[in-house]
Each structure stands twice: as structure tokens, then as C-alpha cells.
């Protein structure tokens, strides 16, 4: 159980590292485009397309990582007022609902991915990028997030009650959550 949790979070962190590298690459691509346009009157001709793929991949690849840090916000009017098994029940409900939703979306993304693969759809730009690549990245990010959500659900179900709740911070400012300790790092 513990090993599973560590392995899945490791995967999420790996995905986030790729997302970080992609964000850096997006910035560099835009700077390159500016330089090319201003000084060489030319262009990479694929800027909006590639940066678009980048922002999709960055978002989906960092979902699991953001979840574990409590950065994906929730409305905590009810959550902050209940404790013990009620709180655990709400967490299980939210995680199960989200897991079902992710399964549902992943299935339909798989259909899109498969079709774009078989049909050989490419982008209509000069680069003719096979569309299964960016769509596949979104699907992959979604699957990694699915695993992280599963890990979260298992923790809510099987973790000791007193441990389950602090793990499930909803970003209300308790000092032990990774998210808040991080934003307060400067103080």
C-alpha cells in the first residue's frame, strides 16, 4: 500500500518534471519566434500550434502533482465543518465521482486517439504533426491523473482515520499541508 502510494506519486512527479520542461520550451519557442520575426523577417510558422500542444500537455501532465499538493481547489464550506467518518465519506464520494468521470473521458479520448492514429490525421500547418501525438499526451496525462486519484481514494478508504483526513487537505491553511507550507515558505 505504502509502496503503491510512493510509486504513483513518483509517476506524477515525473510527469510534472516533463511539464516543467515543456513550459520552459514554450517560453524559448516564443522568444525564438520574436527574434526570427524582428531580426530575420521570418518565422517558425508553427508557433501557435506548438505552444497550443504545449499548454495542453503542461496542464494535463501536472494534474496529479497539483492534486497531491492540494493545489486543485475545492469549495470547503462543508468539508471544513465535518470530521471523522463524515469527512471521510465526503472524500470518498468526491474521489469516486472524479475517478468515474476520468474513466469516462479517458475512454472517449482513447477513441479519438485510435482514430487519429488509424486515419493518419496530421495538423494542417507546414509541420504536419500527427495529431495522435498531442492528443495522446492529453490521454497520457489523464491516465496518470487517474492513477493519482485512485491512490487518493485508496488512502481515504484504507488509511487510518486520523491520517486520512490531514492527507486530504482542502487548502484551508492548516500548516501541515504541502500546499500551504509551500506558499508560506517566505514567512
Amino acid at each position: 500500500m505504502r509502496f503503491l502510494q510512493i510509486a504513483i506519486f513518483g509517476l506524477s512527479r515525473g510527469a510534472a518534471a516533463i511539464a516543467g520542461a515543456l513550459l520552459v520550451a514554450m517560453v524559448l519557442h516564443i522568444l525564438l519566434e520574436i527574434v526570427l520575426r524582428a531580426f530575420f523577417s521570418t518565422s517558425t510558422y508553427v508557433l501557435d500550434e506548438f505552444v497550443g500542444y504545449g499548454v495542453a500537455a503542461v496542464t494535463f501532465f501536472s494534474l496529479g502533482y497539483a492534486l497531491e499538493h492540494g493545489a486543485l481547489i475545492r469549495v470547503n464550506i462543508l468539508l471544513s465543518r465535518v470530521h471523522g467518518w463524515v469527512r471521510r465519506g465526503l472524500e470518498i464520494l468526491a474521489a469516486t465521482g472524479t475517478l468515474l468521470l476520468l474513466t469516462y473521458f479517458a475512454w472517449f479520448f482513447w477513441i479519438r486517439f485510435e482514430r487519429n492514429w488509424e486515419r493518419g490525421t496530421v495538423s494542417s500547418s507546414i509541420a504536419e504533426v500527427p495529431i495522435w501525438i498531442p492528443e495522446g499526451l492529453v490521454l497520457l496525462g489523464l491516465l496518470i491523473f487517474w492513477l493519482q486519484m485512485l491512490a487518493y481514494l485508496l488512502r481515504m478508504i484504507f488509511g487510518p482515520a486520523e491520517q486520512a483526513v490531514p492527507y486530504a487537505q482542502t487548502y484551508q491553511g492548516q500548516d501541515d499541508s504541502p500546499a500551504t507550507s509551500d506558499t508560506r515558505a517566505k514567512e
Binding site: A56, V75, T183
Partner: protein, 436 residues
């Protein structure tokens, strides 16, 4: 009537899913799926196809790309002593103004709005720099959060602005004119906010504590030196846009590069801080973008359900006088704004409301400014208000508190709408001067 019932069902679903504590993005997706099943009887297979089509198309849009980069720029400023310098520099300068540093949110957002076309990026970037610092210095948190929520939406009113570009294309109104028309109303809103803060802080000085220091002339001069790095950064970004070197969408990358260079030059940027800022940017932008993507699907669902169209058609049937029309439209937009983000409010209603408004004798450029103000209102109203979400993410304050703190600024923005409706010249004078 049907539209009202449909709207009510959506409201119930929002309260249910968000209230039970679902993550906001998954809650919004479930609301949309639920709404399409319950109200339209749409099969799950078709909804899945629609959802993935919209999710992919929206998440890979060029327009979204500025958000993670601007947030990253804010993170770099926040994690180095650039933000500290900013406040040390401003403190002595604003010492004699009632409200003191409380004005930083408004000034910061006004300035940043000239760089960024999105209110979400404006709120997240400025808020990252200001909120922690203001609370550490003992400033009133309600005024600090509220003014951030209110002023963050200036990102849309002061050019460049994504919403204005979209309105301009749809309404076939000159984008240059719209940009010019937004400037004075933007400054008006900022002035109204600052006046309010001065009044509140004047009545209750504890809201803006003076701190221990007394400032000499030397301190004030030294303060100006402290402002130089941030000032330089602003010049780089603004300069890149207004010299034509970068497009407004590309300015975010210039901002990141500028922040890296400035902090390197000040020997502030270590590899560790660079990586931390990148991680922080990923977390915040993932939260913001995932909610924006879910909200885009909610807009699509509302479009299939025909809610905005039916409401707008109902208004058409009323045969109202111009003033009554604007009044009813304002109510309509505030209601839509409870659930939808700015751009979708405009695209879904415009084909019906624009002819109504122009027939009633309003100038389409003025109406563009009015609509931007309406979408700004939508950013600060619960249950779905982006500035509120962003601030919850930044500060950890519960959304109810954020919404309450933002409420006076919501009212002040309504007041600004009244002012520009009575004096449309505030919007129309500058484009007239510039473009004839």
C-alpha cells in the same frame, strides 16, 4: 420560463457538486454532464464525444498559453526579493495616502492589465506578489483580497484584452477603437476602488497599519531605487508590446525572460529558486487551466441547452425603452455571470443582444466596454467566479470569505457601469480623438 427552470436545475447541480467538496474542475464537468442528461436527455455517449472534442480543442488553444507563463513570471518575482523590494520601495512613497499599501493591488493590477489580456493572469500574478506581503504587514485582509478580486478584472478592460478582441471580431467593431475605449473606464474603475479604500482606511486606520518606521527623505529616495528592478521589468514587457516586437500573447514569454534576467543580474536567482518557481507555476496554472477547461465545457453545455439564447429572446419580446433595456440586460448578464466565464457570456448572447442594443441607439463601441464590465462582474460573483477561485488558491481563504470581501468591489463596479451609462463619453471620447 423553460430557460429559468433549466437555469435553476444547473444552479442546484452546482450547489450540490461544488458544495459537497468535489474539486472545482471535476464538479463543473459533472454539472455539465448532469445538466445535459437531465434537461436534454442526451445519451452519455454523445456527451462523451462532445466533452472530449471541446476539452482538446480548448486546452490546446493558443489563447490559453499566456496564463502559465504569466503565472511563472509572478512566481519568480515572488520567490526572489523583487517583491520585497517593491514593497520596501512603495512603503515610504504611499505612507501619506490613506490606505497606504492597500493601493498596491489596484496600482499593480492597472499596470499589469496593460501587459496581460486576461483577468485570470492579472489576478494570479499580482496576487502572488501582494497578498502574502500585505497580510504579513498586518493590512486588513478583506480590503486586500477584495481589492485584488476587483482590480484583477481590469486585465480585461485595459488593453490588450482577449474579450475585446473577440467582441470586436463578432460585432465587427474595430479592435483598435475598442482598446482605446477601454482605457478611461479602466482608470475610472481603478480610481473608484482607490477612493473607496481611502475612505475605509480613513475611517479605520487599523486597516492599514503604519508599521514601525518613520520615513525620511533619504528613505523615500532609496525607495525609488528599490522600485527600479520591477519598473525595468514592466518597461521590458510593455515596450515589447507597444514597439511591435511581441504580440500581446507573446508578452508573457518576454515577461518570464525579463524576470529571469533581472533576478540573475541582482544575483537573486539560484537554480533552486528557479526550480521552485517553475513548480509553483505548474501547480497554480494547472488549477487555473483545468477550471477554465471545465468551464469551457459548461459553456458548451449551456449552449446546447439554449439557456442564454432563450433568456435573450425573452428580453427581445419585452419591447423595452433604452434605459429599461440596459437595466434588464445588466440583470441578465449578472445572472449568466454567476455560472459562465466572460467570453462565453458574450459569444452566446451577442447575436441577439447586439441588434437590440444598436436599435435602441447605443454605440457598439460603448456596448463593447459595457460588456467587458459585465464580464468583469462575472469574475467576482460566486458560485463560479474565476478571480475568487484564483484568490482562494493563492491565499487559502475559503471561497465564501473571498466572495464576501469582493462584494463591495462588485458594487463599486456596478456603480462604474452606471457612470459610463450616464456619461458614455468616458468610453467614446478617446477613440473619437484618436481615430476620428
Amino acid at each position: 420560463m423553460e430557460a429559468l427552470i433549466a437555469g435553476l436545475v444547473i444552479l442546484l447541480l452546482v450547489v450540490l457538486f461544488l458544495g459537497l467538496g468535489f474539486w472545482i474542475f471535476s464538479g463543473l464537468f459533472l454539472v455539465s454532464v448532469g445538466g445535459l442528461v437531465l434537461l436534454e436527455g442526451m445519451p452519455l455517449e454523445r456527451i462523451g464525444i462532445i466533452a472530449t472534442n471541446i476539452i482538446y480543442s480548448y486546452s490546446s488553444a493558443w489563447e490559453l498559453a499566456a496564463i502559465p507563463m504569466f503565472i511563472w513570471m509572478g512566481e519568480i518575482i515572488f520567490r526572489t526579493d523583487l517583491s520585497d523590494r517593491l514593497f520596501r520601495g512603495l512603503s515610504p512613497l504611499v505612507d501619506f495616502i490613506p490606505g497606504r499599501l492597500l493601493h498596491t493591488n489596484i496600482m499593480g493590477c492597472t499596470l499589469f492589465a496593460a501587459v496581460s489580456g486576461s483577468s485570470t493572469a492579472t489576478t494570479a500574478t499580482v496576487g502572488k506578489i501582494t497578498t502574502g506581503e500585505l497580510s504579513r504587514r498586518g493590512y486588513d485582509s478583506n480590503l486586500s483580497i477584495g481589492s485584488l478580486a476587483g482590480a484583477g478584472s481590469l486585465g480585461l478592460l485595459i488593453p490588450p484584452s482577449i474579450v475585446m478582441i473577440i467582441y470586436g471580431i463578432l460585432a465587427e467593431v474595430s479592435i483598435s477603437r475598442l482598446f482605446a475605449a477601454g482605457i478611461l473606464p479602466g482608470l475610472l474603475v481603478a480610481a473608484v476602488y482607490s477612493t473607496y479604500i481611502m475612505i475605509r482606511a480613513g475611517l479605520d486606520p487599523s486597516k492599514s497599519p503604519r508599521g514601525a518606521e518613520r520615513y525620511s527623505l533619504r528613505d523615500r529616495l532609496y525607495g525609488v531605487v528599490n522600485l527600479l528592478p520591477v519598473f525595468f521589468l514592466v518597461i521590458i514587457v510593455l515596450g515589447s508590446i507597444y514597439s511591435g516586437i511581441a504580440t500581446p500573447s507573446e508578452a508573457a514569454a518576454v515577461g518570464v525572460a525579463g524576470a529571469v534576467l533581472v533576478t540573475l543580474a541582482l544575483r537573486q536567482l539560484t537554480l533552486e529558486i528557479f526550480l521552485e518557481s517553475l513548480k509553483g507555476a505548474l501547480r497554480t496554472s494547472c488549477m487555473v487551466c483545468s477550471i477554465l477547461i471545465a468551464a469551457a465545457f459548461l459553456s458548451t453545455a449551456m449552449g446546447y441547452l439554449g439557456i442564454p439564447r432563450n433568456l435573450a429572446e425573452a428580453i427581445t419580446g419585452m419591447n423595452l425603452s433604452p434605459i429599461a433595456l440596459i437595466l434588464i440586460l445588466s440583470l441578465f448578464y449578472v445572472m449568466l455571470g454567476l455560472f459562465l466565464d466572460g467570453i462565453s457570456i458574450i459569444v452566446m448572447s451577442l447575436p441577439i443582444t447586439l441588434p437590440l442594443v444598436t436599435m435602441a441607439g447605443f454605440d457598439p463601441v460603448w456596448f463593447g466596454v459595457y460588456l467587458v464590465l459585465m464580464t468583469e462582474l462575472a469574475q467576482v460573483t460566486p458560485p463560479i467566479g474565476f478571480n475568487l477561485f484564483v484568490i482562494q488558491g493563492l491565499t487559502g481563504h475559503p471561497i465564501g470569505k473571498v466572495a464576501l470581501a469582493a462584494f463591495p468591489f462588485f458594487l463599486l463596479m456596478c456603480l462604474s457601469v452606471v457612470i459610463i451609462t450616464i456619461f458614455p463619453e468616458i468610453a467614446l471620447w478617446l477613440p473619437e480623438v484618436l481615430f476620428g
